[in-house]
Amino acid sequence: MLGFLIQRLIQAAVVMMLISALVFIGVFAVGNPIDVLISPDVTQQIRLDTIAAYGFDKPLWEQYLNFLDRLVHGNFGRSFVFNMPVLQLILSRLPATLELTVAAVVGAMVIGIPLGMYAGYRPDSPVTKTIMGLSILGFSVPTFWIGLVLIMTFAVHLGVLPAGGRGDTVAVLGVEWSFLTLNGLSHLFLPALNLSLFKLAMMIRLARAGTREIMLTDTIKFARATGQSEWTILRRHVLRQIAIPIVTVLGLEFGSTLAFAVVTETIFSWPGVGKLIIDSIQSLDRPVMVAYLMLVAFLFIVINFLVDIAYAALDPRLRTRRA
């Protein structure tokens, strides 16, 4: 097990190095940040000084080494646009994204699992047909389009919910949260719904498939024989068994929810990390782009690593096989 662990750790480190090089070269290829940083009518001397101050006059490989050196010291540089440390900038935006993502995932679970279990429990009822039809829509209709329709319906047409922003926030432990005020909740509702629809469709499908399978097993037969009510059977036996795959998939999907938050945050002007990355791509804010990409890559590698370890712990064949 230890050998397997070390092997996977080395693999993860190599992948991270490769990604850092790719990200650095890739971001380097986008536009010239000097044109964004200083106005075109400054003197040649100031221009050269600025280039030297940011190290843009050095060869690419030297800039990369400097970048790696700063990275291992936890220094991601300063944002060109906001003129503050990138790490601080991203951390200040992270709570908004986290709040949105968690609200979306929890919402998808709370609504999706009961609907999916019903669809699996009564596979032929017309309600099930409707639920499954809606889940196909949730899968195939692009997130940004659903966002537009939501804004149009609830914000423009009915005028009951705000179209964007975070609303009033309350500071807890120095971090601003929207979900603690009524106004903030009303701002959170539409973007969270928008982000959750894809997960909701997935939850419905997972819960339905699991329920259909388990309802046919002997467990359920015996549970019925003991005289438990259908409600108790669903809650005690079915829900417990389908919970394991659902939680696994949710963990894996957490990363992709963060990715889709980019779209939702842009539509609803939600001031999170996703909106930050789109803004920084448009304003050529290189340090922010690099830091965001590195953090996301790091997150995914950590998730993959944990999944590998969990599988190895569960399946002894993976441990002994030389991968």
Partner: protein
Amino acid sequence: MDKATPLGRFWAEFRESHIATAALALILAVGTLALLAPWIAPQNPYDIGTLVLMDARRPPGHVGANGFVYWLGTDAQGRDLLSATMYGLRISVQIGVAAGFIAFVVGATLGATAAFVGGRIEMLVMRFIDLQLSFPAILLALVLSALLGQGKTQIVIALVTAQYAYFARTAHGAASAERAKDYVEAALSTPLPASRVIFRHILPNCLPPLIVVATVQVANSIALEATLSFLGLGLPVTEPSLGTLIANGFQYMLSGRYWISIYPGIALIVLIVAINLVGDQIRDQLNPRLKR
């Protein structure tokens, strides 16, 4: 069609599903509209000479200054939205099909070759592809189109890079199974070059699952391209796809001018949902576990 051929049987079974048949008809209709847009659209929306600025942002059914009827209204430049939507469909379909096709060729070749060669190379390639699959395609496409800039070629490259891995994964799985069969052994015992065995013997037998992936991925490419264009990273304003049109209308939506975004959006949804329905049906038909 003749019921005796495998294709004929497939088609007969396909037609049993009314929803899938309707979806296929819809795809053909939308495809024809897209293909013939320059000849059947009432207006060329990108010929500035024909645009009347006085008719900008008019609601559906507006009759223009020169008696021209704008059935779906006009956008901020006074373009007829019916025509703009048809031209937008044309670009979206072009990009979706091109990206899907190239990703198919690249992914299937890579996956089948890896399965054929085996050993360390296979392990390395598949490990890389698994890693890429764990990363959301939308994020990869987003970053790539930001790095490459706007334009048709750039967006196709971004989409292919984000999606070839699905084809490679599927082709690898199917080709690994085929590789062990006797006919491949027989082909290898003749002096045929390896490339011929891969492309003429193994790959044709891997086609069914790949076709399912292809339908889904074409729909995904169209949706991804629309998303990127909506975020301002996909196509430039001079080549507006459906996503660009929707983005242009977004700012007018809050003032109640819904039609600028809605009609291109409906065209997009109809196309994507129809392709997915057809893909679902093909998958069910090819799935041996669901065979009666």
